[in-house]
């Protein structure tokens, strides 16, 4: 029972990341009709927003260490700590959550630049060409990041308050040794919040209504005299933001490196296709479903029955679902079937 609960939790936070990436991917696809292979790179850029922010906060200078008296010892002390003492230290401690504030404008800007500068010219091209150009873009982004930050993963730490584990077991009246890292629980809550925010935005605002109408029938909406194109730029920026936020908060879970985007991209594409191209609900459901299935498959009990299942479960599920339900779980008819 404990093991199963742990695996569900494991799956949920991984699924949260998949769902967020797939959500942005589907949003861009459903509205703009663009298959964006650079979406994983946006996730990676989000994670590196956290890295950059943390590095900026901890710009240091050498200060004489007063605790050592035998000789002149120097230690690196961040300026923030020198200026503000304990407040500065606290700010550095909360670097990752605070970097969300930094990531929001950055990711929106990147999204707008990408759409205006490149994606815009590919609306009329074939899906194959869209895939290819964004694949090229993903390589470029990834290599630029590598030339700035190097090839090694850069571990980020969560704030000290939530560094430990939550005693879920005793809270739920189960065994006491059932614990789970706080940060992962926070990540799960965060991804759910973002997902609900996106859905509420689409459901309850006029802008969201236009976007949904545009997803259903772009031609009619533009015939009604609405500038669909302009709104779609914003939607693309929003998709970039969602991917970026997913990346920022994932930084303490998985140390960011330059190719994490590609690793997640392949998986999240599988998620989107399983959920059904163009279906937002499908993307979220498939994200959590595949996340949970993956963590169940990595249980030792299951691995001993079917060796290697943990490596291939996602792809296997994708193959089965695509063959049984050609449009994925909730796909609409006539999307991407040319």
């Amino acid at each position: 029972m404990d093991a199963i609960l742990i695996q569900i939790l494991n799956g949920l936070d991984k699924g949260g990341a998949y769902a967020l990436i797939a959500l942005g991917l589907t949003l861009a696809f459903g509205t703009l009709g663009v298959v964006n292979f650079a979406h994983g790179a946006l996730f990676m850029l989000g994670a590196f927003c956290a890295v950059t922010f943390q590095q900026v906060l901890t710009i240091s200078k050498k200060v004489k260490d007063p605790s050592i008296t035998f000789f002149d010892a120097y230690k690196e002390t961040p300026y923030l700590e020198i200026w503000w003492g304990d407040t500065g230290r606290a700010i550095i401690d909360y670097a990752v959550p605070l970097s969300i504030l930094f990531a929001i404008p950055v990711m929106l800007l990147i999204g707008v630049i990408m759409e205006r500068g490149l994606i815009k010219y590919f609306y009329k091209r074939t899906h194959a060409e869209q895939i290819l150009v964004t694949f090229g873009l993903a390589i470029v982004i990834q290599e630029i990041v590598r030339s700035f930050f190097g090839a090694n993963p850069l571990p980020q730490s969560a704030p000290a308050v939530v560094a430990g584990s939550a005693a879920i077991g005793s809270a739920l009246g189960l065994s006491d040794n059932l614990v789970y890292p706080w940060w992962r629980l926070i990540y799960l809550g965060f991804s759910l919040a973002v997902i609900f925010a996106v859905f509420a935005f689409l459901k309850y605002t006029t802008f969201g209504m236009v976007v949904r109408a545009g997803m259903a029938d772009r031609e009619t909406v533009s015939l009604l005299g609405i500038n669909v194109q302009k709104r779609f730029t914003i939607v693309f920026a929003l998709a970039a933001l969602v991917a970026g936020l997913a990346g920022v908060m994932y930084a303490p879970i998985l140390p960011p490196d330059y190719h994490m985007g590609m690793d997640f991209l392949v998986l999240s594409f599988v998620v989107v296709v399983v959920g059904g191209m163009g279906s937002l609900g499908g993307a979220v459901a498939a994200g959590f479903l595949l996340g949970i299935l993956q963590s169940f498959a990595s249980m030792n009990e299951i691995k001993s029955i079917i060796p290697g299942i943990d490596q291939i479960i996602i792809y296997l599920v994708a193959v089965v679902i695509l063959l049984v339900r050609p449009r994925g779980l909730m796909g609409r008819e006539g999307v991407m079937e040319d």
Binding site: V266, I312, A318, E337
Partner: protein, 380 residues
């Protein structure tokens, strides 16, 4: 029809064979004449030609062709281990095994079209890759990669009474060691055969039907054609090309690793095909040539070399130019590749071949010759 046309199969094949076989001569001035690189040209050329039969003719974008490459490599190395160091059985077995493998994957994947097909092929390739790393370790030797060893039985060699060598034996073609230039010529021979088959396919009713599938599959179906067998056979043929290319990799260097199956490897062949020109006969080969040649040059460059190259510039400017170009060379070669790739897809979707065609048309117009109605790019 007895008139010898410049575009007849035999003339093209003759020119092609001469160009390929004399490659060591005409590649010397540009510094690309060494066996390793030549072999790569031929092997990836074969891979890209085969990929082009699927993607270029039918328009089905497969993101999993590297799996066949990997399967071909593993089969070849196993043939070296179990049967004989002779390369003929290795190539034949790879052809067979990758063909069967492609038949299985193609049968399932081709039930879907568009991006669903791409994702299915990607899923299968990633599955093969992950399995090769984990569960299939007894067959693939996991991360270390499959290698020859001194204990290998080599049944056929033992029967033929080949004397055991001191160290590891090398691959051979009836005694001729397959490394260096002989290795290249063996690859080149297979490349020429592969090119001939591809030429025949392009110019046959079968090839026409594949192209018809690309332009309008629905209409094809309404005219009463069952498109599935055509698609599946094209998939299997291109899978076999990839398998043979994989076998040749093992021939020139008897080692097979799972990283050959990773999806980035599939991406690379897509890239080469697009860069040269999708759906043209010679385009994929051009793409391979360009990418492998520049990869070779660019990866070798480093900061020191760059400073020498730009030493004529004033110091401040030199440092600036060097620090910018440094991003694009050595380890940053992929940045160049990505940028190049984007530029090609944006401005020249038909690849280099389209550029050539445009130049020819422009040239003709300037000379006042009426541009011919046939597209030079398709036939050249």
């Amino acid at each position: 029809m007895m008139k010898l046309s410049l575009k007849s199969n035999w003339v093209i094949m003759l020119v092609f064979a001469v160009v390929v076989l004399t490659a060591p001569l005409w590649l010397t001035p540009i510094g690309a004449n060494y066996p390793d690189l030549l072999q790569k040209f031929a092997i990836f050329g074969l891979f890209a030609i085969g990929y082009n039969i699927l993607f270029g003719l039918t328009g089905y974008l497969s993101f999993g062709h590297a799996a066949f490459l990997g399967v071909g490599s593993y089969t070849a190395v196993w043939s070296f281990k179990l049967l004989s160091m002779n390369v003929i059985p290795a190539v034949l077995f790879s052809l067979l095994v990758s063909g069967v493998f492609a038949l299985l994957i193609g049968y399932v994947s081709l039930r879907r079209t568009g991006i669903y097909f791409s994702i299915l092929t990607l899923a299968f390739a990633q599955m093969s890759y992950s399995l090769a790393y984990s569960v299939l370790t007894p067959i693939t030797n996991g991360e270390t990669g499959l290698q020859l060893s001194l204990q290998d039985p080599r049944v056929l060699d033992a029967m033929a009474g080949v004397a055991k060598t001191e160290g590891l034996p090398s691959t051979n073609l009836f005694g001729q060691i397959m490394s260096g230039y002989p290795g290249f010529y063996f690859c080149a021979a297979l490349l020429i055969i592969g090119f001939y088959i591809s030429l025949k396919i392009f110019r046959s009713p079968y090839g026409l039907k594949l192209m018809a599938i690309k332009s309008n599959q629905t209409r094809m179906k309404y005219t009463g054609f069952n498109t599935r067998p055509y698609l599946l056979s094209a998939f299997v043929i291109s899978g076999m090309y990839a398998g043979v290319a994989g076998a040749l990799m093992a021939v020139t260097d008897p080692l097979a690793g799972a990283e050959r199956m990773q999806w980035t490897a599939s991406g690379e062949v897509v890239l080469m095909t697009i860069l040269g020109g999708v759906g043209t006969l010679i385009g994929p080969l051009l793409g391979v040539g360009i990418i492998k040649y520049f990869e070779n040059i660019f990866s070798a460059l480093n900061e020191k070399v760059l400073h020498e190259v730009f030493s004529a510039l004033p110091d401040g400017l030199e440092n600036l130019v060097v620090s910018v170009t440094e991003l694009f060379v050595g380890e940053g070669w992929h940045l160049t590749l990505g940028t190049l790739f984007m530029l090609v897809v944006i401005f020249l979707p038909g690849g280099v071949m389209e550029g050539v065609t445009r130049l020819i048309t422009a040239g003709k117009r300037m000379l006042g010759i009426r541009a011919s109605s046939g597209s030079a790019g398709d036939e050249k």
